[in-house]
């Protein structure tokens, strides 16, 4: 392995745009040289920001460094680029398992199995997840390349399990920065407060009624396909609107310190939770 690392390092030095950083980063990670692996992965990611394997590699290194929140973001990003990315699905399954959400872990493993039916590691982990095991699942999930699991532990809020009773439970800002509306502006979930702490949920919901339809009409008129999001910068904060389903609207509000890109990721994750919640019919 050291020889291969040396060879790959040399190749990367000669051609910094090469994809050998993926193999090199993985070898360094496996060898436990996490800081070096981190640098290699990050540099590669800067050159190839749209490469799902680069996000997957970086996520694995972050997970090994116990930076689970950022690992979640990276795997989430890999899936946004490539929805069937097996590594990212396994990685998210690992994180969900780690926080004790076996159901979500199994769902991600099922998706991974659909994408890679011959992967024995996925099948093994899935069998154990369905059986509700913990320690054994950890061993199976170790095929992910992270450490063996023991007991679930609390990690990033964004990766915590969702409670069925509350659409945004466990998501960042669930109490006052996320709002789910139906097509006519009725609140389905979440809440919103202005900077002074006043509840503005109903007022904002009323103004947003019809936005989804107008956004859909506008992009249709322009021949742009379906609308996927509406991001807006305000003087004091940012908002992001997304359609979790064709007849629902999700609003995420954050202060200006949260970059728009980060806000888009938060919104994407919240939209996923909202869609799942709507599909489960938990609001009825």
């Amino acid at each position: 392995m050291p020889d291969e690392i040396k060879t790959l390092s040399s190749q990367l030095a000669q051609d910094p745009a090469s994809l050998v950083f993926l193999r090199l980063g993985e070898l360094l990670r496996q060898k436990g040289q996490l800081d070096t692996a981190h640098r290699v992965a990050l540099t590669g990611l800067e050159r190839h920001p749209h490469l799902p394997d680069a996000h997957d590699l970086y996520a694995r290194i972050l997970a090994d460094k116990h930076d689970y929140e950022r690992a979640f973001d990276e795997w989430d990003m890999a899936l946004r680029i490539a929805p069937d990315h097996v590594g990212a699905l396994k990685g998210l399954a690992f994180l969900y398992f780690k926080v004790g959400d076996v159901q979500q872990a199994a769902a991600h493993l099922e998706a991974a199995q659909r994408a890679a039916p011959d992967d024995p590691g996925v099948a093994q982990a899935l069998a154990i997840a369905r059986g509700g095991g913990t320690g054994e699942m950890g061993a199976a999930a170790a095929s992910r390349g992270t450490e063996a699991l023991t007991e679930p532990e609390p990690i990033a809020p964004a990766a915590q399990p969702l409670e069925e009773a509350r659409v945004f439970a466990g998501l960042e800002g669930a109490q006052e920065g996320l709002l789910l509306l139906d097509a006519s502006g009725r609140v389905l979930g979440g809440a919103l407060k202005d900077p002074s702490g006043r509840d503005v949920t109903e007022a904002v919901a009323a103004y947003l009624a019809g936005v989804s339809q107008e956004a859909a009409r506008t992009v249709k008129l322009l021949g742009l396909g379906k609308w996927t999001g509406l991001a807006a910068e305000g003087h004091l904060g940012h908002v992001h609107l997304a359609p979790p389903t064709s007849d629902a609207l999700l609003l995420v509000v954050r202060d200006r310190a949260v970059p728009m890109g980060r806000l888009a990721i938060i919104a994407q994750r919240a939209a996923l939770a909202a869609r799942r919640w709507l599909e489960e019919g938990a609001h009825t």
């Binding site: 202005d194 503005v200 904002v204 936005v211 107008e214 008129l221 807006a232 305000g234 003087h235 908002v239």
Partner: protein, 119 residues
Amino acid sequence: MTTAPAGYGKALDLITRVRGVRGAMLVSAEDGIVVAEQLMEGIKGPAVSALAASLATRLRRAMEAAGVGASLFWHLQAEQGALLVVPTPGGTLVVAVAEPDVNVGLVRLELLRAAEVVG
């Protein structure tokens, strides 16, 4: 091209020269009427401007109610492109229609520059 002050054409030039921008418009935020436009053929300027103005109004009211202030820039994302808008203090919307892979940051900057010209 709608008849409009010469400075408006210059403002729109700032935007349409960005690679991936299919057209730009100045729209009256109050009534959704096109003030000036430089659009690629096939884009229905008056209809798009009316909807953009309506969206802008709803968004402004919602954002003000949410306590984040009036919008400085908004970006409607779609599968095959985007609509990017900067409202000016004088009640005009500076609008760009763009391809999906456009440099959003660059378009935003040019929209803001154009908004300064329009006022």
